[in-house]
């Protein structure tokens, strides 16, 4: 599958995050050769009706990728056990500052909503 510009939808354009799928396991952060991913989380206890004791779950507080530093290798995407990270064929995020290439949860999630208007999908 390609975008309307003939770019593979799996092109290493940008890494999108599905925050609800992330368990804060830190595998992506630790395996990143560029050390460009940062993650913060805290534990919360969740009580479920009928359960004998409350479960402890990790809640994601912050997740950033520094696309200035990222080498677009995709190790994080490949290793994520819950497919919370995925490539998206989006290239339109040049920045006027180096700090502007550091993207947080909201930006990373916005890419997850599928390719933007400039990159419509075709089956060709």
């Amino acid at each position: 599958m390609t975008t309307d510009r003939g770019v593979s939808v799996q092109a290493h354009g940008v890494i999108a995050l599905t925050a609800s799928a992330c368990t804060s396991c830190m595998i992506c952060v630790r395996e990143c050769p560029s050390w460009c991913i940062e993650l913060e989380s805290h534990d919360e206890e969740v009580s479920e009706p009928g359960a004998r004791r409350p479960r402890t779950v990790s809640v994601l507080d912050a997740f950033t990728i520094d696309f200035g530093l990222c080498m677009y290798c995709g190790i994080c995407v490949d290793l994520c056990p819950f497919d919370a990270l995925a490539w998206q064929p989006d290239f339109d995020y040049a920045s006027g500052s180096a700090a502007g290439l550091v993207q947080g949860i909201s930006e990373l999630e916005s890419w997850q909503r599928g390719p933007g208007a400039s990159t419509a999908i075709s089956d060709s």
């Binding site: 520094d66 530093l69 290239f91 040049a94 180096a98 290439l101």
Partner: protein
């Protein structure tokens, strides 16, 4: 099996713009002797003058942008000020030459990049193209690599990617226009 003659020379006759069937030849701008004028195919009113400092593999992507027609080389004079209308209907940014720094910059090479920047006439804007030029990228821990060309020259736009695709180069050029016209 012979290797295709890709990177041996910047002489134009070696790199025909129309490739033989089944064979993609990339015109090399990486070591071009001076600034060249280009038109952005998606936005024909955007004509830019680029001095391409291709220092590593990212330079191939600039060649790809030209080979795939995203960036169209304009024949004729590229004297500073004559071309490169950054946006139609405005005088802002006219004549701006973009110093496109694509590739790994070592500390040994950084002074040469600075010289290229200093010798470029005003108005000018530096674009950092790719992870190495942005921050050092995959060589962020190397003792010989400069951790971002913005330590050496003032960078107007950072294009992310390793390497950035040709589409990202176009997005970066549009960003330069926005920065200059809006600013």
């Amino acid at each position: 099996m012979g290797l295709p003659p890709l990177w041996v020379s910047n002489r134009k006759e070696v790199f025909p713009t129309s490739a033989a069937p089944g064979n993609t030849l990339v015109p090399v701008t990486a070591i071009s002797p001076g600034a060249r004028a280009y038109q952005v195919a998606a936005e024909p009113s955007l004509r830019v003058q680029i001095l391409d400092l291709g220092l590593a593999c990212c330079a191939l992507e600039v060649g790809s942008a030209i080979a795939t027609g995203l960036l169209v080389e304009i024949e004729g004079s590229v004297e500073s000020g004559e071309l490169a209308e950054v946006a139609e209907g405005t005088s802002q940014g006219v004549g701006t030459t973009i110093l496109l720094i694509s590739g790994t910059i070592t500390d040994a090479l950084a002074p040469a990049v600075l010289r290229a920047w200093e010798q470029l006439p005003e108005p000018k804007a530096a674009v950092s193209f790719g992870a190495c030029a942005n921050t050092g990228g995959p060589y962020w821990d190397a003792p010989t690599v400069t951790k971002g060309i913005d330590q050496v020259v003032p960078v107007r736009v950072y294009v992310p990617g390793c390497p950035p695709r040709p589409e990202a180069l176009i997005a970066g050029l549009l960003k330069v226009r926005d920065e200059i016209v809006v600013a």
